[in-house]
Symmetry: C2
Subunit: 739 residues, 2 copies
């Protein structure tokens, strides 16, 4: 009586989250059981209903949903109040929960986020305090929501058949996967849309102007600047649209933060954990040796391989040349990932050591360090070719003789090593272009393919392995297959799907963002070498957007819908790359202005002052232009800003009215203005004045009482003066005559 | 029975403001009277008590004070609520006015500001709508508060006898003259304190390293950067201290703003006046021709005078040399102020044309334009000497022959004009130093003297003129002296003082700030030429601080105590000058590295690439350093930030508690967790399930009811698996063996 397969994909059994509890790691059976009981109790204590099913080998799956809507609504209300207090919402939510939810219905991502926080937040903040893979919850392998397969299918179908994404498509992502993922797609979509221009213009330049065209260089820099600044504007707009403006200000404390001391604020009674900023600053200074070390480590490998490659392909002529040519690629392929993982570990350790207080600060610091590594690994090869090999090739290549010594044993004939004498060797000016093409086309395609195919193969291989394993287990005892046989028949398909999803990787949006930012770097730094770069990226990104959607739906667990109001530290990377682009582009245009052939390895033909002047001029024009673009964009209005202004206006109006109604009770200043001066009043005043030994001040003010009397006295002064005026004017005239 | 003079200085008769109403301008007597009545009525209508006295010729003085404390408190409360709504205060003021004022007493500047706003704010915002010198209130010459002479005297005495100003001194300024004036003094005091180091270090460099020392250059740039960034930090700190953080966000609408159209927002019903940003942007583009024009106008005069000066002092040898030498100074002295006032008018017109919506934006735009004018007028002469005359003198000076033609008629002997042949003329390398000394010592001293002496002479001259005039008037008719004779004898001295204060100038803090910023420019741009610059400024600023205090107390009307949370657009000027300093200093150090003698007019000895490399390198080191300083300073804690955090915490806590008490009424999620599974409950569930044609979802969740049952089932799974585990592990081992 099992429901048809399609049904298994269509229902999630109202499950909000699945917790995978793997007890294999726990040696002691009773410990595993008591910890499991604790888990279920903790979940129940925050109002979550639980149901357990058998998982794959050595694990159980705990299904979780909110006990009732009423309970969930309470949590939603709490979350919204917290948002309001932190300034994410302009107005406090209405006092009745029901009303609040009717006015602003709960969307899927909000529901899932709130339940996730209910599960993982510390107990003192009202959560169950379950931290996957950490501390006492080491056995909790993952906490994940189930994919909505029907919606996923619709999504993929829609995307693969349409050319562009609308804002509504992005809204849908935000509603289903949260603002953080939506920001990635919004960024990539904006970037994609902006790419149309450099793609078209680049193609035209490629056809009519050739490589290293100054016109293309300028337009490319302008475009990169406008894109970066426009995105900053767009980010704010989206934040308002998605009601997340300011969420990055809500800092979550890092659990691993180790304060030096804890004091209690004398005024507020708040406990403050202190870690002195100066101490952190000292630790942060370690970033300088780190960056240098990373540059050295990666740079040494890259430079060596580069040297070997140049030597083999252009100097060496001995045996095995066709094989040896692959040597540098081999070295790079092996050494680079090793280096990078070592450096990444270092970066993480360093960031841990810097001991940040909040999750946000930690993340930003780590991202910065990773960007340094990425930057060196991605762009250094091209930098070497453009600014070392091509201009100084003729001077440097002869020193590659050092490799000769190594290679000599293999060379049968001395002549096979045509040791280049200065002047006889000619550099290969096409090398730079080839390299750029490699990084902007080949590498991108390979990357995209890897992103899709590797996880697929991994998944297939893993399930194959599982199958084989359980077959073997069946042959041995037969109990393992029997375990899933325990499933209620109508749930079989559903549970199978859940078990599959439990095996999937966790989606990390940072990786995808990083990829896009690095791609943008090639465009801003080197696209002047090969103007088709933009066109290549345009094609690639159309695929990329869809592939990423696919990846999220198929290859990964459903991401926890975190909120965000920016793409975070990557924004700084974008700005940095745009700025650096103004330097490299102008330098490349100057260096290779000689018909794209470059200085041909003769540095003599480069005029230092001209190169520097070009770069200096270009950078300052860029800075000025960027400032102008910033000012111009900041003046632009947008739907998001309008919405925000409108909300603020309404809130202010409401607050003001609330407070003014309170003010009504106060004596109003105006009332007294109309007061009549009655004889009685004046007499009363005089009496009082004589009573309390009038001071000069009292007498000063007592001379005129009420504005009518002031007006009367003033009138007298004016009338008198107006009579005098002619006499005086006459007097002045006389003065003039006298002079 | 007149009170002694000292008493007149000691009491202000409880007067808050004095309004000087000059009716001479109004031709028609009756119009003047009715307008005066309107004035007094308007004042009375907002709860102000009035009392009129005769002023000087053709004017009356209206004395104003709040009718009663209760009325004033209402206004204070309104103002504080408005602040809270705009985010200037973290918490709403307590609901009882009395309580609010007891908790946070009213200080003088707040009282005066509120009354001033009551007088000048538009009627629809609750003010009397009296706008001095504008529209229908043209006859209202000025609205000013009376000096508190006793406090002023104490202030001056204290300052002249102490070396440094403490934060409490600044607090006092803020309490009496408002935050805007206090910011000027805080800035100048910070700058003064920071100057100690470059003064000492500069003197040491001057003694031991000479001019153009690279060491001094680097340290000077570092110091300027730290000062600028530190001040930004300090500004925020002071804003929190003075409860003005965010006041610049409270925009006051400009009366002269001319919207293109007015629409009514469909959602809020708010009336919005629209002037498209794009249109303004187009108008702002006029700033480019304006800046070019200003550079051309001022530059032409300066360059011409410079040429003439060089020609006369170093080429010309004819008659009248001793007189002609003063010609350029004469031209500059006449032409510069004319040019500047023309340009200032232009700048004002341009800013008017740009049609800003708020007072703040208008002011910022105007300040920017004035800075451009100041920049050219102040620094261009030195730029010309350093970067044109010294390096290219030998090439350019011969072309000054053109002046020969003009001078020829005067020259008796042709030989008096020793027409320089290229190579024979030698430039005067001392010229640059002399010029810097002139601008940093002579000009500063002259300026300071003018600031103190000119207003004094003006005041004396004016009162002398008045005296003479009234003497003459007395001779003619005797009525004018009689006018003041009308004063009640005990008020004579007081009224005399008020009449004097009414004649004083209005203090504009921008002028003083401008002076300091321009002074900072000399330090950052050119102090490497003459390292004693810092010492000179240190002395000058000690005087300046005291002179400004004196000026405010004696020479000027008491300033209206405006609020501010920054020194405004001058901050950008500071940053700009610091940045430019990194360029000029490095260029100067390179150019004059030749023992301070400079390139001696032979540009051949300058290596273009080396100069550019120096500047390029220096600029980027500066940018990197500035970024590091920014990061470091942003991490520093300060009393202000602590105070702010504390207030925010308290507000959040209070809001949260208020809202949580509301939440108490909601069903709490936790309650259900402890629910017991009773047999009856289960049976009830089952009955319900069968009743409503159970869906798979209902059946899924019905299998385990309550966390205890989940725990029990899970225990079963784990126990079973734990039994299986060894078998399986064995199975895996077998697999290994098989491989």
């Amino acid at each position: 009586m099992a429901p048809p397969k399609s049904h298994a994909l269509q229902t999630n059994m109202d499950v909000d989250y699945v917790i995978s509890y793997r007890f294999a790691k726990t040696a002691d059976k009773s410990v595993a059981i008591s910890q499991f009981e604790k888990l279920v109790e903790a979940l129940a204590s925050v109002g979550l209903q639980t149901s357990v099913r058998d998982g794959d080998n050595d694990s159980v799956l705990v299904f979780v949903k909110a006990v009732s809507d009423e309970h969930l609504f309470g949590e939603v209300y709490r979350s919204r109040v917290r948002d309001w207090i932190h300034g994410v919402r302009t107005a406090a939510p209405p006092k009745e929960t029901r009303e609040a939810l009717e006015e602003e219905p709960l969307y899927e991502a909000e529901r899932l986020r709130i339940i996730y926080q209910l599960i993982t937040n510390p107990v003192e903040e009202g959560g169950a305090g379950i931290t996957p893979k950490e501390g006492e919850w080491k056995s909790v392998e993952s906490v994940f929501a189930l994919h909505d397969h029907r919606a996923n299918k619709d999504w993929i179908r829609k995307w693969t058949t349409s050319w562009t994404l609308t804002t509504e498509d992005l809204d849908e992502i935000r509603n289903r996967f949260g603002a953080k993922v939506a920001y990635y797609f919004a960024f990539t979509q904006s970037y994609f849309a902006f790419l149309v221009f450099p793609a078209a213009f680049g193609a035209a330049c490629w056809l009519f102007l050739g490589h290293f065209s100054p016109v293309y260089g300028i337009i490319s820099c302008v475009w990169c600047t406008i894109f970066t600044e426009w995105w900053k504007h767009q980010e704010i707009d989206l934040a308002v649209r998605w009601d997340v403006r300011g969420v990055s200000r809500i800092d979550t404390k890092r659990k691993d933060f180790r304060p030096v001391k804890e004091i209690t604020d004398a005024v507020t009674g708040e406990k403050i954990q202190i870690f002195p900023a100066t101490k952190r600053l000292q630790r942060q200074l370690l970033q300088i040796p780190f960056a240098l070390g990373a540059a050295l480590m990666l740079g040494a490998v890259i430079a060596t391989c580069f040297g070997i490659e140049v030597f083999i392909s252009e100097v060496y002529n001995g045996p095995f040349k066709s094989i040896l040519v692959f040597l540098p690629t081999l070295i790079l392929t092996i050494a680079n990932p090793i280096n990078r993982s070592i450096l990444t570990n270092f970066a993480t350790m360093l960031t841990d050591f810097e001991n940040y207080e909040t999750q946000g600060a930690y993340h930003a610091a780590l991202t910065q360090k990773l960007f340094v590594i990425d930057f060196i690994a991605s762009y250094l090869p091209i930098f070497l070719t453009a600014f070392v090999y091509v201009p100084f090739g003729n001077i440097i290549v002869p020193y590659l003789d050092i490799f000769n010594v190594t290679v000599k044993p293999f060379a049968a004939d001395e002549k096979q090593l045509r040791a280049p004498k200065p002047g006889t060797f000619t550099i290969n000016p096409d090398r730079l272009r080839k390299q750029v093409v490699y990084f902007t086309v080949t590498a991108q395609v390979v990357n995209l393919a890897l992103e899709l195919i590797v996880p697929y193969l991994k998944r297939r291989g893993f399930s194959k392995y599982k199958e084989m394993q359980s077959e073997r287990a069946a042959r041995n005892g037969g109990s393992s297959t029997a375990r899933t046989d325990n499933d209620p028949p109508e749930e079989t398909e559903f549970l199978k799907r859940v078990r599959q999803e439990a095996e999937l990787d966790v989606y990390d949006v940072t990786t995808d963002l990083r990829e896009m930012v690095l791609q943008f770097g090639y465009l801003s730094l080197f696209s002047v070498v090969w103007p088709l770069t933009g066109a290549s990226f345009l094609l690639n990104d159309w695929m990329e957007l869809r592939a990423d959607a696919m990846k999220i739906c198929v290859e990964m667990q459903r991401p926890t819908p975190w909120r965000a109001d920016t793409i975070g530290p990557w924004l700084d990377s974008l700005s940095f790359l745009t700025w650096l682009g103004s330097l490299t582009t102008s330098a490349l245009v100057y260096l290779f202005s000689n018909d794209g052939l470059g200085p041909d390895g003769h540095p003599g033909s480069i005029r230092g002052w001209a190169l520097l002047l070009t770069v200096f001029f270009s950078e300052h024009v860029f800075l000025l232009f960027r400032w102008a673009v910033r000012v111009a964009i900041s003046k632009l209005d947008s739907p998001g800003l309008q919405k925000e202004r409108r909300e603020q206006y309404l809130v202010r109006k409401r607050y003001f009215e609330e407070n003014l109604s309170r003010l009504e009770k106060l004596p109003k200043a105006k009332d007294l203005g109309e007061e009549e001066i009655t004889r009685e009043g004046l007499e009363e005043e005089q009496r009082q004045a004589s009573l309390r030994e009038a001071t000069p001040e009292v007498r000063f003010w007592a001379r005129q009482k009420g504005w009518r009397e002031t007006a009367k006295v003033g009138k007298g002064f004016i009338e008198r003066a107006a009579v005098e005026a002619p006499t005086q004017r006459q007097g002045r005239n006389e003065t003039k005559k006298e002079l």
